[in-house]
């Protein structure tokens, strides 16, 4: 196949020494130079083009940022903050809770670094669809390793603050490894915020491994910030009876692409993937999920909602793969989508691949406008049309927000979404 390779500015930025063990880094570097960035011809990238990145001429950050603070305070109880400014890790905090060890990726031993660059399910260095992970492997110098000891129940949320855009046109390729020992439990929150006006691009990878009977809750909060470009990939490997609960809330950014690869690899394991995306303006918010049921008696539950306004675009693709020996599987997926303006667009696609025979699997995707009957009902109660619309839109989002496990965060997000909806340029629905 004829591929153009990396743009020069990106190729020139490939570092001499990366954080990945030499062999892994070399292979990645070699491949990605040939393959280049994924494009519309690659199956997983049909709806999302990386033109803004291709043309971006981003450069590595020059190491500023010690004094950069996020402008948003999340309502969290004594969080453990791991701050990245333009992808650069700002250091290990000194008040770690019991059972938690944190290491800067650069300081980790070779075996740990190898683990950080060997996720399960393994992406392929030859597959163009995986080119951004390969690029991250070739580029990553910064990152962090979080280890949670067996039986540790970590109450304090571990917050990764991605503060992007502190310096103009920077790009970053950080790598995070989080490992939960047997029966451990922890909450990882990604607080994503754009701190500058000019575009910045973050291409980050989170690799998680969740040992038997352990539970990881992973909440991603992409807050407002019109110029942000990010391409991110999360891998989660689940052993026997492990749980991975993911909540993905995307409210801002110019182009946000998130990919989740969840390997449900041990009997009794379960995953939830919950998502809310609200593209407006000219934003593109895209989530691709891939769940692999590789063991018997495993379950998954996926629920994504998108509300697209103005000329915003939402993309959701959810793949569920059930391997041949994985019997007695329950896998549910739903994707409900609301389009508020004629220029908005949503692409939603479920993809099921089932090789086992004893499987209970369902999926459904809806794309629609506001329910006219519900609008009428509210209006018969004296609620004005605009307000009734607002209530229905907020209610649509609320159903996903209600699934968040932290009550204070739920309330905070409800208010945040309400503000966003109040600011929107009415009227919507020309047909109402």
């Amino acid at each position: 196949m004829n591929r153009t390779g990396l743009p020069d500015w990106l190729s020139d930025a490939l570092p001499e020494r990366a954080a990945a063990p030499t062999e892994i880094a070399e292979a990645a570097r070699h491949q990605v130079e040939t393959i280049g960035l994924p494009g519309l011809r690659d199956e997983e990238w049909r709806w999302t083009n990386l033109r803004a990145i291709q043309r971006g001429r981003f450069h590595a950050p020059s190491g500023v940022g010690a004094d950069v603070e996020p402008s948003t305070r999340l309502p969290l109880d004594n969080p453990l903050r791991l701050r990245f400014v333009d992808g650069a890790f700002q250091g290990v905090p000194d008040d770690l809770p019991e059972g938690v060890a944190i290491t800067a990726l650069a300081d980790a031993d070779e075996a740990t670094r190898a683990a950080a660059f060997s996720p399960k399910p393994a992406p392929s260095v030859e597959n163009p669809n995986d080119a951004l992970v390969t690029l991250n492997t070739a580029m990553a110098r910064e990152g962090v390793v979080v280890d949670v000891a067996a039986n540790a129940i970590v109450e304090r949320p571990i917050v990764i603050e991605w503060l992007d855009g502190a310096t103009e046109s920077t790009m970053s390729h950080p790598r995070v490894l989080i490992r939960l020992g047997e029966s451990a439990s922890a909450t990882l929150i990604e607080h994503v915020e754009t701190v500058g006006e000019k575009p910045a691009w973050r291409n980050s990878v989170i690799v998680s491994s969740i040992a038997a009977n352990a539970a990881l809750t992973h909440i991603a909060l992409g807050l407002d910030g019109e110029s942000r470009l990010s391409t991110t990939r999360t891998f989660a490997a689940l052993e026997r009876d492990a749980r991975y609960h993911s909540h993905n809330v995307q409210l801002g950014g110019r182009m946000i692409r998130r990919e989740y690869d969840v390997h449900v690899g041990g009997t009794g394991a379960h995953t939830d993937l919950i998502g809310l995306m609200m593209p407006h303006g000219k934003q593109l918010l895209d989530t691709h999920t891939r769940i692999t049921h590789a063991a018997a008696d495993t379950t998954s539950n996926e629920h994504y909602r998108t509300i697209a306004d103005d000329a915003g675009r939402g993309v959701f693709k959810g793949r569920i793969l059930i391997e041949q020996d994985a019997q007695r599987i329950e896998a549910y997926q739903s994707s409900n989508n609301l389009i508020l303006s004629d220029d908005a667009e949503i692409d939603a696609k479920p993809e099921l691949e089932i090789y086992a025979d004893d499987v209970s699997c369902s999926h459904g995707a809806t794309i629609g406008r506001l329910d006219q009957e519900a609008l009428f009902y509210l209006r018969t109660r004296g609620i004005a049309l605009d307000e009734a619309r607002g209530l229905l839109i907020a209610g649509f989002a609320q159903e996903v927000i209600d699934e968040l496990p932290i009550p204070a965060l739920r309330d905070w997000l409800t208010t945040r979404v309400e503000q966003r909806l109040n600011d929107r340029s009415l009227p919507v629905d020309s047909d109402a």
Partner: protein, 251 residues
């Protein structure tokens, strides 16, 4: 002056005429029952009175409490004191019941030039009403009608009516599918609303409701027209003889 005066009302949905010349007058203080076989146009009449999009009035007039109803938006009709109880109350998950109640009450208060109700007074009033409808407080914090049983939805409609105290309540089959306990609670709610200043229209298939809420007038709607009106004994005749007799008599 009549509270509601409908004259020669014709209405269509998607170009087909459903209401074919309805005349009906309801005075303050009266309870009217409208009965009629399936598909005769009862719900259509309710939706036209509510001002639903897609229901086109082609002829006739409707005056409500001195206003030209057909000139008003749905929410304006509500604020002017009309309440529509739905045959199939809509499920709105994500919008809490308590929130809807408060917004609805405040919309009405705003139109009356009153301040927003304070939370304490509001909650007290709502809790009392909830108890009187034999409902659980937990309903208030669930999505509007979301996952409610048929009977719970109907109680919820009456609850809203009791809170909003409309001048005219238009209840479309609020009694259908209710077991006897729920029917008693619902009719008790309706009887509490009854009063000098208010009109009530009960759309129903069953005479049973009328044993609990005695109507002043009973109308038979058939193929988009009121073919017969009478006092409450008409409902007994319908129950005993069926529609056939009455239809023949009317034609």
């Amino acid at each position: 002056m009549a509270l509601l005066e409908i004259k020669n009302l014709h209405a269509e949905i998607d170009g087909s005429e459903i209401l074919k010349g309805i005349d009906l007058t309801v005075n303050a203080g009266e309870v009217h029952a409208i009965m009629g076989p399936n598909g005769s146009g009862k719900s259509t009449l309710c939706h036209v009175l509510g001002g639903r999009d897609g229901y086109e009035v082609t002829q006739g007039t409707i005056t409500f409490d001195g206003h030209d109803l057909l000139e008003m938006e749905t929410e304006e009709r509500a604020i002017a004191g009309m309440l529509l109880g739905f045959q199939h109350p809509v499920e709105i998950p994500g919008v809490k019941n308590i929130y809807l109640l408060k917004e609805a009450l405040n919309a009405k208060r705003e139109a009356q030039g009153l301040e927003e109700i304070d939370t304490f007074t509001f909650m007290k009033q709502v809790r009392e009403l909830v108890a009187s409808m034999d409902m659980d407080d937990a309903f208030l914090h669930r999505g509007v009608n979301a996952g409610f049983s048929g009977g719970e939805k109907k109680r919820n409609e009456i609850l809203q009516m009791l809170l909003l105290e409309p001048k005219l309540a238009l209840l479309d089959e609020t009694d259908s599918g209710l077991d006897i306990d729920a029917l008693k609670v619902v009719s008790d709610g309706i009887n509490r609303m009854r009063g000098e200043a208010r009109g009530i229209i009960l759309v129903t298939h069953y005479q049973r409701l009328l044993n609990y809420v005695e109507p002043d007038m009973v109308h038979v709607l058939y193929k988009g027209k009121i073919i017969k009106s009478g006092d409450k004994t008409l409902a007994h005749r319908l129950e005993a003889e069926g529609y056939q007799e009455i239809l023949q008599e009317a034609s």
